[in-house]
């Protein structure tokens, strides 16, 4: 079974973002970029499926600027066999990404597609679900466990009240939640080997997909800053403040 895994280049998890002075967007100049953490989990799951002998080939795909090839090389270093880069400098929204991935699914015919549940830049949490709808494949979102069993996959999902397990027919789309696995770090020899693995470069036009969106970004602002308050010296003072000053007790 072939596994397709989608990755996204985003601002590094630990970087504190700045809004541009003209409020047009977040300022990404000279900011450290990395693979989206949920995508790392997706790559790890795909590689583990290969190590278990369930998957025969792992193909990583990304949509983004030329620099996003760094994240594909990371996926290759972590164990993906080959990569597809759909290169564009446009701001590509979830729907367009899902349309592009649907074309790749059509071409590659994977048994399983694994994506992160959300990217930590736009926090949309849409692409996997949209891909499932467009391809007509079943979806298991927010997965904390993925168990392939013959022509089915059981997906345990993190839902608001606890956990839900569903069974999907294969091929299927899975999106990862945090507890699915702990991604490994790439080893130096694997990083070297990854440079020689095949990486195809395409454009949205190659797939006949229009990436323009009908949603426009009018303005980006910093949220209202919360000011720090006071330190209290004791539990008694805390209770007094909460009762008499904040009036929340």
């Amino acid at each position: 079974m072939k596994v397709l895994v989608a990755v996204k280049r985003v601002i590094d998890y630990n970087v504190k973002i700045r809004v541009k002075a003209d409020h047009s967007d977040v300022d990404l100049t000279n900011v450290k970029m990395a693979m989206n953490p949920f995508c790392e989990i997706a790559v790890e799951e795909a590689v583990r499926l290969k190590e278990k002998g369930v998957a025969t080939e792992v193909v990583a795909v990304t949509v983004g600027p030329k620099a996003a090839q760094e994240q594909l090389r990371t996926a290759l270093a972590l164990g993906a066999d080959r990569a597809i880069h759909i290169e564009t400098d446009e701001r590509v929204e979830s729907l367009a990404v899902a349309k592009l991935l649907a074309k790749v699914v059509d071409e590659e015919q994977p048994g399983l597609v694994i994506l992160g549940k959300q990217a930590i830049d736009t926090d949309n949490n849409q692409t996997g679900q949209m891909l499932a709808a467009l391809t007509g494949l079943p979806q298991g979102t927010f997965a904390s466990e993925v168990a392939v069993d013959g022509d089915k996959v059981n997906v345990t999902r993190e839902i608001d009240g606890g956990l839900q397990t569903i069974a999907l027919t294969l091929p299927a789309i899975v999106t990862t939640d945090l507890r699915l696995n702990e991604p490994r770090y790439a080893k130096l020899p694997d990083i070297m080997k990854a440079k020689k693995k095949p990486l195809d470069v395409k454009t949205p036009a190659d797939y006949g997909v229009e990436v323009a969106s009908k949603v426009s970004l009018l303005k980006v602002e910093s949220p209202a800053e919360r000011k720090g308050g006071v330190k209290v010296a004791s539990v008694d003072e805390l209770i007094d403040k909460l009762k008499n000053e904040a009036k929340v007790l």
Binding site: V26, E93, M130, A133, I159, T169, L242
Partner: protein, 308 residues
Amino acid sequence: MSILVLADLHEGQLAGATAHVVAAAQAIGGDIDILVAGEGVQAAADAAAKLDGINKVRVADNAVYAHQLAEPMGALLVELADGYSHVLASASTTGKNVLPRLAALKDVSQLSDVLGVESADTFLRPIYAGNAIATVKSDDALKVITIRTTGFDAVGTSGSATIEAVDFVADNSQSSFVKEELAPSDRPELGGAKVVISGGRGMGNGENFKLLNGIADKLGAAIGASRAAVDAGFVPNDMQVGQTGKIVAPDLYIAVGISGAIQHLAGMKDSKVIVAINKDDEAPIFQVADYGLVGDLFEILPELESKL
């Protein structure tokens, strides 16, 4: 304009989130219908009919909608969406699971986690874990939106909308329900609680989370956790407050042994009053807390419980 709101259900009953989504629909303006879909959901439909400002409640009561699996729910929404200008759901795990399918099948974008309405086509939504707020305008004919419920005060319950049955039954041969393990709790739901007390890595282990119980009992609080506490295996993930967990905005939020990573702050910084208890007086949580108490939580918590 007319708006369809997908009702949130919790164990077959109408969840509190729905009244907040209706408030967001009112801010957009227009006729508001509610869709209640599931199996054995008459009580939830009756409760939805009582929400203020509802035109009608549409009920799809069929075994295929049990557990609100994504595939049949998406097909149902596609079937019903014609004639509506907006389809809204809460940004719960159900809303997030189902609504993007509707958007994709209608070839429109979705706006996620909307926390403010500027006009019928312009909305505010958080990006980068809430460290920036984007104003976005949608020119799509159908606007598909998930609502961050903390951004809107719940509507009242003095309505009496009509209830009508939906006959459409979706096919589903691709996905099936296996089991659910819901954490039993007699405490208020995290998302709707007036008081939340959360523990972090500083709690040391899962057993120590019991130190929060007595305080939560006295305050009628829900108990949450930071991602660090969840990752360390102290408590289950459904207790997680933060960018990748639940977003809460209670009247009082008490953070215990939580350092205050930006991903955690993203989930609680809109709380009215924040209290931080931490032994490290340099912890970033103190920069957002209204009241900080530096000290050993294992001494402070029992004292707080006894004095409340």
